[in-house]
């Protein structure tokens, strides 16, 4: 295990004080903070190697191309894929849209079923609704149990509808639930569905191996895993990516352009039109190296420890109702709750006045909140720099809510 208090020293923003108080940043699920190593890697790239990627023209161009391709290899190794299967995108949302446009538009037709779940982030719902609108396909959702787990009986029932695609989240950003995606992927494949996994909240906290998961596509964002904004990854199986249409088109992804038609390059460039965000890829590599140094198993242990400690303390606050499963083995990264009689937004404002930063609202999971009958919730979410002290300060600050709202 590592010492989070030591790790905090790597994060310049955590040294900031607001209103005289040290920052307690418990909104890592929205975006993580960045260690100085990542910030410096970006600066260093711009100060030393910056160029567009096109081999052969000059030294800086070669260096930039090499950095981008090394980034691809590092990421591929990190998640267990091949390097040409790693496609750089802006974020998880774009990754999912790429599949929706590049695979969905061509492969779905009227009355085909797209199966997603009630606990998806909007980014894994709305693109499928849009594809459904354009193709006549239908979106179905696997139900969530009152405990906050995917209802596996309901999943089996929905699989009888013979969906062409199962699109599901590995770790819920609103409940923290870790879904049994290895088993679920197996079942989906048995009936011939392809499987897309939204790994936005998994990659920052646990070892991910796309081969072991067995899925067909895996999407995640750099900015939630200590990396920079503006860079994310879609991983996909080579055979499937090869058969897909390109999504964004233009410079960089074409082989030959004629007046009336064009031909595409090979993977992965086929899906990367325009100037790529090399600085972003370099920053993401630095984030992976950071996590690797800590050891991703240790990161998961730390996260589990925080979940246990947090669940215990937060649940003990009068008026608080925890959402999602109680078993820390089944959760990761965050704890969401409601506060009886006080709107989540007001709770967040009071906490903020104490220097404690959490998120309040739907967390982009409106169908889930509707299902749970919860208008809005408060979410506290972690990363490697989160400490016991952060949780203690949170609980202290929650007592302020009672003072102000008298509830």
């Amino acid at each position: 295990m590592f010492e989070p208090e030591e790790i905090r020293k790597d994060f310049p923003i955590l040294q900031r004080k607001i209103g005289g108080k040290e920052i307690v940043y418990l909104d890592s699920g929205a975006t993580s903070q960045k260690p100085k190593q990542v910030i410096e890697a970006i600066s260093k790239y711009y100060e030393t190697n910056n160029a567009n990627v096109h081999r052969g023209a000059h030294t800086l161009g070669d260096e930039s191309t090499q950095l981008l391709e090394e980034a691809r290899e590092t990421i591929a190794k990190w998640i267990g894929g091949k390097s040409e299967e790693v496609i750089f995108v802006r974020n998880t949302t774009e990754a999912i849209n790429l599949v929706a446009y590049g695979w969905g538009l061509d492969n779905l037709k009227k009355d085909d079923v797209i199966l997603t779940t009630e606990m998806e982030h909007h980014s894994n719902i709305v693109p499928w609704q849009e594809v459904a609108r354009r193709t006549g396909a239908k979106v179905e959702m696997v139900k969530v149990t009152s405990e906050g787990l995917l209802d596996q009986d309901n999943y089996k029932d929905k699989l009888k509808l013979k969906p062409k695609l199962v699109a599901m989240v590995q770790v819920s950003n609103a409940l923290g639930t870790i879904n049994p995606i290895v088993e679920m992927t197996k079942q989906a494949h048995k009936i011939g569905a392809l499987v897309l996994v939204d790994g936005a909240q998994a990659v920052p906290h646990m070892k991910v191996d796309v081969q072991k998961i067995g899925c067909d596509w895996y999407a995640f964002s750099g900015h939630k895993m200590l990396g920079p904004m503006g860079i994310g990854v879609l991983w996909g199986k080579k055979e499937i990516l090869n058969k897909m249409s390109p999504f964004l088109t233009g410079g960089g992804m074409i082989s030959e352009v004629y007046v009336d038609h064009s031909t595409w390059t090979e993977l992965p460039e086929k899906f990367e039109a325009g100037t790529p965000n090399v600085a972003g890829a370099v920053g993401l590599v630095s984030a992976i190296e950071y996590l690797d140094r800590l050891g991703i198993e240790n990161v998961r242990e730390h996260d589990k420890w925080l979940t246990v400690y947090g669940l215990q303390l937060i649940a003990g606050v009068e008026g608080v109702e925890i959402l999602g499963p109680r078993d820390a083995e089944l959760r990761s990264g965050s704890i969401s709750f409601t506060y009886t009689g006080v709107h989540a937004h007001d709770v967040a404002t009071v906490l903020d006045s104490q220097g404690v930063m959490v998120r309040s609202g739907y967390h982009c999971t409106m169908p889930l909140h509707n299902k749970l009958g919860v208008v809005a919730s408060v979410r506290v979410s972690f990363n490697v720099y989160t400490t016991k002290n952060d949780i203690d300060r949170l609980v202290e600050a929650l007592l302020e809510v009672k003072k102000i709202f008298g509830k």
Binding site: V342, H345, G361, A376, I404
Partner: protein, 129 residues
């Protein structure tokens, strides 16, 4: 905390004019019409519906309902009090800023502006349609 002043807390805990005309039968011979609209803030999950009962171009009664935070609730409550008795035309001509100033009477930091403004948006939506 500046934001949760006494007046805000009073209105959020005892909101005025809450309810709707949905189950109220407009009596025979009673002139006027009911204008209504709703809107929501996705990020905080707030939803507000306003109904204005109008007679001869004047707002004679206001009902609102919704789910929202203390700020949105207090804002809707205060706005409902203000609107009652106003001429439709006068309200239609007010800018958003004026409506906040005269109709709500308290302000918040930029972070909570959306909560404060939700009832204003709903009322403007009603008047523009």
């Amino acid at each position: 905390m500046d934001i949760y002043k006494e007046e805000v807390m009073d209105h959020s805990e005892h909101p005025r004019n809450q309810g709707s005309f949905d189950n109220v039968l407009i009596k025979d011979g009673q002139v006027g019409q009911i204008l209504e609209g709703r809107d929501s803030n996705v990020s905080c999950g707030d939803m507000v519906q306003f109904q204005l009962r109008v007679e001869d171009g004047k707002i004679v009664e206001v009902k609102w309902k919704g789910v929202g935070c203390a700020i949105a609730t207090a804002s809707a409550s205060k706005l409902s009090e203000y609107l009652k008795g106003q001429a439709l035309e006068d309200v239609r001509e007010m800018s958003e800023e004026e409506m906040v100033e005269k109709g709500i009477g308290f302000s918040v930091n930029p972070g909570r502006e959306k909560c404060l403004m939700l009832p204003v948006k709903v009322v403007r939506k009603i008047l523009e349609s």
